[in-house]
Amino acid sequence: MVAETADAAASGIIRYTWVIALLPFISAALILFFGKRVPGKGSGFGILAVGAGFVMSLAVLWHFVQGGGIYASSVSWFSVGSFEIELGQYVDGLTAVMLVVVTAVSLCVHVYSLGYMHGDVRFTWFYVVLSLFTGAMLNVVIADNLIQLLVGWEIMGVCSYLLIGHWYEEKENSDAAIKAFLTTRVGDVPFMFGIFALIFATGFTTSNIHEISELVGGPGVSASLVSAAALLLFGGTIGKSAQFPLHVWLPDAMAGPTPVSALIHAATMVAAGVYLVGRMYQVFLAADPMVLQVVGIVGGITMFGAALLALVQFDIKKVLAYSTISQLAYMVILMSVGEAGRNAAFFHLFTHAFFKALLFLGAGSVIHAVHSNDMRDMGGLRRTMPVTFWTFVIGSAALAGLPPLAGFWSKDELLVAASEGHEVVFTLLLVAAVITAFYTTRMVLMTFFGELRSDAHPHESPASMTGPLVALAGATLAVGFLGAGPAGAVFFDWVFLEHPEAVELVPWVAGLSIAAAVLGVVVGWFVYRRYRDPDPTLEMGGFSRILVNKYYLDDVYLKGIVHPIRDTVSAGVYWFNQHVLDGVVNGAARVTRRAASAIGWFDRTVIDGAVNGAGQVTRGFSGVLRFIQTGNVQWYAVALFVGVIALTIVFVRIA
């Protein structure tokens, strides 16, 4: 019962796109059960699966490069009442591109980890989760319905948790893992409710994304429901893509091994939030315009907030983490400006994946060499680690938005899209571009220039690590052109099947963009060309203090929400449980016993005579005492006669 909505031209490999998503699951299982017993400790399964997936993804992409049509198919998974849940694939250009991105970065990370994780106690386990994650992410990409998407979505979350906490011996790491999971789950719950709302809109029949997309614009569905659904869905994005106010988990997530940061917390999973908005874009369009405004505002706040925070970081990975948040916010903002923005956002998502993965892997290489994350322990590494240095510079340039690198083109698309009628957004983007360029420069200069500031003995990383760096650097250099106006912006053809509108290089926009980037770089150069201690970014008084304390958000969350709930409220609830609820139960027992003892007392003391009252305690004495007190049987007699009289009076008179 495979339902197909296929282009007639759909042929060959595209029918089997689902295999790409399945392979990593299989490899995860293989690694888990046999990993320890095969050479390479299981990493081979992972690399093979993801590699094959990469090749297939390229083939699928080729289908769209050639102008092939969308292919969708599904099988029934199960049904609950009227509600059909399917397992399906929806393959369009966007899917294909995402598949390529995910498999490519994942492949690089798989290979890179051979070196980076070499000798790790849980090497095999690392690959299990890595594969599992890849599978889940691919599942999100190809899912044709929201339930299936949600499944992948949550599995990614767990993998993220597992990988952040990979080195769980350190409590910090496991704390970070928990934080990541819970924070994203705070977003996931509204996301889930959003899905419910959409399923409700279909009359509890399906959660198929495309059926929903067609439905929401129609008359049968109330606008307020759609708006609510859109807002709720965006909750998922806020959590997964680390947008304000749920962005706090991502910097902490850097506690995980660096390849993980590259894959999950830079290139793929965090982008899934943005991808989701794009996939469900019809819902956002059908919703009240206010919704997209909210999206834009959240993005704006995040973009600036995160960029500023990147200024004061010394942990190289945290710089990258905040830059990731900031870049994701770019995409989110773009999503809020309409279809053109959405296209631009996707392109940025695409390029960002490559250069941010590159940067993270480069940072990993550095960390691997100096055994520290702290940029204050680094310096002068350009001499000892040339490959890392050059690839890192390429990535940084792309991040800073320098032409002709990937970052420039995608950012240019953003600016072009924003320049048409969204002046505020446009200005914001430019300012952010300056800040981005500035902190990128700061990072590069502190890491690679000057003199080494620790007693480590850095050396270039092994080929398994530099290889992926070079590959990603190459990709960073290349992918930009896919969306570059002068090069024909073929990306948009692939992704959206038709050229939505002329993507051209608007000279004044490009000029401003370059100027902003150069401004940031130049200022950065002047400030950091020599290592300065303390860092000038720390010397901006109260502003620095706010930044160092991350706007106090973590404190608010921790001291205002987490600790009270975990320690105080829970203790209160438990107290209530033990003392009030259980108290009622025990109290009832006690009252019964009391009543019993009262009557028992009456029986013994009044009826049986005062002397016998003590008798229960010392039965032997009681016997003696009762014997002396033979008269007490007369109390029984009194009861007998009083009973007769009373019964006679009461009942005979009544009768």
Binding site: R619, G620, G623, V624, F627, I628, T630, G631, Q634, A637, V638, F641
Partner: protein, 100 residues
């Protein structure tokens, strides 16, 4: 001619006196005596009704009651004597009592 209610009231009086004795007397034998008064009250009733109705059953009943009363007195006195004997030994046998 004799009025039935008078006899019944006499019987009621005997019965009530017996009740008083049962409740107020401390000595077990005295209590037994009071009970005998009550049983006699019953018999007075029975015989009175029998006489009034000209029915012999009441008298037979009364005879049975007398017989039972005799038996009860025997049993009662036996128990009283038993208790008396044990009580007399209580003071010396207190340690034995605690075995129970």
């Amino acid at each position: 001619m004799i009025r039935l209610p008078l006899i019944l009231i006499f019987s009621a009086f005997l019965f009530s006196a017996g009740v008083y004795g049962v409740l107020a007397r401390r000595n077990a034998v005295m209590v037994l005596m009071a009970i005998e008064l009550m049983l006699n009250a019953v018999n007075v009733n029975l015989v009175a009704f029998a006489a009034q109705l000209g029915d012999i059953t009441g008298q037979v009943f009364a005879l049975f009651v007398i017989a039972v009363a005799a038996a009860e007195v025997g049993i009662g006195l036996a128990i009283v004597i038993l208790i008396f004997r044990n009580r007399a030994t209580i003071n010396v046998d207190e340690v034995n009592l605690l075995k129970w």
